[in-house]
Symmetry: D2
């Protein structure tokens, strides 16, 4: 994978100036203090090969990338027919925190588990009776897949999420009022905010992505996640993972991915590799500008588009 | 007013069977236990004449009729330009607890103070620093206008409102997230739920309505509410007071009114009379079936339509 | 009415500079060529008194004011229950040419006859088998009420309406697809566009308004329109006549009115007077800036607010 | 491919009874007269192998499957940046003929070329000055890809589409009014309706799909469509091809596909095979019930899911 290492370095040096076209997420103070010049990436092959460059060891909060972990947990922990009674699997053209479609769409449930409403709703199906247990479950899966037994929630960012989380509270209470959520709103939101505040590096993301690229198998051949769960998750990532530009991304990149407003992107090339990228400046949809450009370039150069 | 008394009795006897066409509000247990056969009305002339019949002395919670009291208080207590920065004055064709229009409508504020969102938002402009003070302010005005110094919140219904108030919580947190509400959501909702749970009789409603019919003057000629405040309130009642059937009601009845899901209707015939009606079974829009029929009949027979 | 004449002159001189705050309607070339300084008004008392000032004899196309005439004709010509199966009577907070609410609102019919969709739909209930007959019917009523047997459609403006009428075509075909409209879309649109292009003066508008203020009676005491039709029309004007600022207008002015993007306003003060105003520069909602200011001033000074 | 032939036969015999769960498209009389028991399928491998069973030689109109052909033509004939100025590439959770999202969605353009609005809009970018030329262009591509030089529009169905096409007219005029469409609405709709009425067999569909599975190469190695055009088209099919159940379909089937209310499905397994299926009874979203079940079974049994 020497060539990939070179490609990564060359491409990232070329793309780095694009950071100036993005803006830092501002709604959470801690995110607004990120280093806009930070740019890191890890590409881990399913065969154990690895390429990495830049600030790949810098930690950041994964924000919406946590939606993959929550979704994996709920698929692992609950009967699927119960989950899909409460959350659909369709893409949404609206913003990730839109509420109108909950009221106007005939199904009266969140359109998919990659928008905020859906990601909150699926938490009811994650194992655990308390917020602490549910978050513990998600963190445990994250640690297992990332092979990093110490990764954890950034307490300061979590507090910020709580303080600025009124839109998510509105979504959750709306879902409670129409029966999509049955339990405690405060408890589910605590889990949601803590999962968003999980702190990882590009290496962590790429390790998680690599397990998904290996159909759920760990390096020792042990099944970490059943293949069917992985396949559903990859499909949902492909359809809905990049907010309301998932369609454009499918056409231009074609790799099941999930971005977060912390600047991270986790991308899974089935059977080939797991990718983790970090660069905080965001485009208008909430996705890392440099991260988006880098993965597009990798997809083009390495023919990774699944379509 | 002997003729009016006869008219009231005759009409109410004729209309009473219509109660079977309505259904009791069920979302709050206490409302679901109301007597569906209860039917009372008071018509108090601006000149002091009075007609009343049926269960006019029975107490019930005023629910949405409280929106008039909250709106009056905010108009009395705060600069109007600040209020109307946060709440519009346009009718809404949507349900009283709709949230989509908060997101989709260009103004990004509640359409009017007679729907739940607007009624919650105006509470920030009612005098008082705490929920207790703000509710005290509203209750004091209610007692003053009704001439009933002991009317108060029904604590059991208030608790029910709190327990079933997730949709209103969703509306409030949404408004908080877009800056329509700046203070504590919990505090405003406490005021809102307590105002909805104010307990009155038809006589109380008719007394309040009579002050509004008298342009805000008390019987002794004292100004209880400035005329301009009364006029604005009557206009808003005419435009938005009967949920999303306000237009039909304007055509058929044409009297500034406000209904509540507790079965009450407060109606103001400017310069002529104040009307209070109570009958719990509701139509699909949340208005008392018998109340609606009675006021239509009164409007027709007494030529009360302002249009 | 000498005082009124003075009031009118003084007020109009004061308000004339406001014209610079508005903009001419631009979507139809002919409207964009109007004289922005034109400002005229007629106030005709039910008793025969009259005040008029400025460019009150200048002809202009009435545009949306024609919605009153179409609505009057359908109420006169068809059973009301059939009309109200197809068109509601509720205000709309959306723009006059909005289409989304036709699809999203549960009733699946135009919200009221004062928005474009509703005004097109009611034309099916105007007497006549052809576009020519239906338009003839509307023009005949206009001539009768205005006492002006020669008023007619401005052919150039009509042609412009046809050429730029794609949004209205879209509304009409949508209504056809959901069964609100059953007949020929082209035919109804021809009637609609011709009615919009009816050319009148302030005097014509004030004469029409005066008949409505007189509950439908002509000067000789003959019933030109039944009282019940007049009352319904005035209520609908009050609720929906000023586009999506009808609520604000009710609060500030409180007179059943209808404005048009040609710069005209027709206002009916029940039992008192009919008013016609003309000044082409429009506010953001499509209503004459000077016209709006003038009628507000008249309402304040003469206590015309019905609420 | 003997095994595939057996699998196809066995599976289709098992699934045939599902036809009773669907309903025939009724809005076009000709579609309502289809044989509900008809069930055919062709699976053509990229290597020239073939399996086919049932009513695979029966002709039917392709309806929405034509959206692929129109999209291919516009990508071949016009600069892509001009196309994507007018049509987005995002999935829609709404019905295929929804109009509200055109007005409410911030981009003010059709969400993707697989819903009616988008499919009409892209026709402006198909080569040709007249409806005849544009349709000729689409038909020519269809004939080339299907290897069937005589396939053509079913004139009777085309006439039916015209007669019942009011919703599409509404969409087109709306787009014209907001500048998405610049040319003649009637002309574009003629092309649209004619393309929907193209008559094909399962073999035709499978042949077209097989070219797309071969990255655009014909059997003789000639480039029929450039690879990049094929990739974009397959991505859009995967994201938006199955109406508003594209997400569920991605999870369950994971094959770029397009269905039509005529009962056809065209599915492309990149690098492997092209599939054409026909069975008229539809599910609530407008997709063939048996066709959907068959392709899901093929995907499961042959591991065709791309995710």
């Amino acid at each position: 994978m020497q060539d990939l290492q070179s490609l990564l370095e060359t491409t990232m040096k070329q793309l780095a100036p694009l950071a100036s076209e993005g803006t830092l997420a501002s709604y959470i103070p801690a995110l607004g203090r990120a280093n806009p010049a930070a740019f890191g990436a890890c590409v881990f092959g399913v065969d154990g090969s690895a390429a990495q460059y830049g600030d790949y060891a810098e930690a950041f909060t994964i924000q919406s990338i946590s939606k993959i972990l929550s979704f994996l947990c709920c698929l692992l922990d609950s009967p699927w027919e119960r989950i899909f009674e409460k959350v659909s699997l369709e893409s949404s053209p609206s913003s990730f925190n839109a509420i109108a479609e909950l009221e106007l769409h005939a199904t009266r449930k969140p359109l998919n588990p990659m928008i905020n409403a859906g990601a909150i709703a699926v938490l009811e199906f994650v194992a655990g009776d308390t917020a602490e247990e549910k978050f513990g479950r998600i963190r445990a899966l994250a640690r297992l897949l990332a092979g990093n037994p110490t990764l954890d929630c950034n307490e300061e960012v979590y507090q910020s999420e709580q303080q600025t989380g009124d839109r998510n509270r509105s979504l959750a209470y709306y879902m409670k009022s129409i029966g999509v959520i049955e339990g405690s709103v405060d408890s589910l939101l605590e889990v949601y905010f803590r999962a968003c505040a999980l702190e990882m590096t590009c290496a962590d993301l790429a390790n998680i992505a690599r397990v998904l690229a290996r159909d759920g198998l760990g390096d020792d051949g042990v099944v970490l996640i059943p293949k069917e769960v992985v396949r559903v998750t990859r499909a949902v990532m492909a359809m809905c993972g990049m907010y309301n530009e998932s369609g454009r991304y499918a056409v231009e990149v074609g790799i099941p991915s999930k971005s977060g407003v912390g600047g991270g992107i986790l991308a899974v090339v089935p059977g080939k590799m797991g990718i983790g990228i970090y660069s905080p400046p965001l485009n208008e949809h909430g996705t890392s500008v440099c991260g988006n450009a880098l993965i597009k370039e990798l997809s083009d150069r390495l023919s990774l588009n699944v379509f």
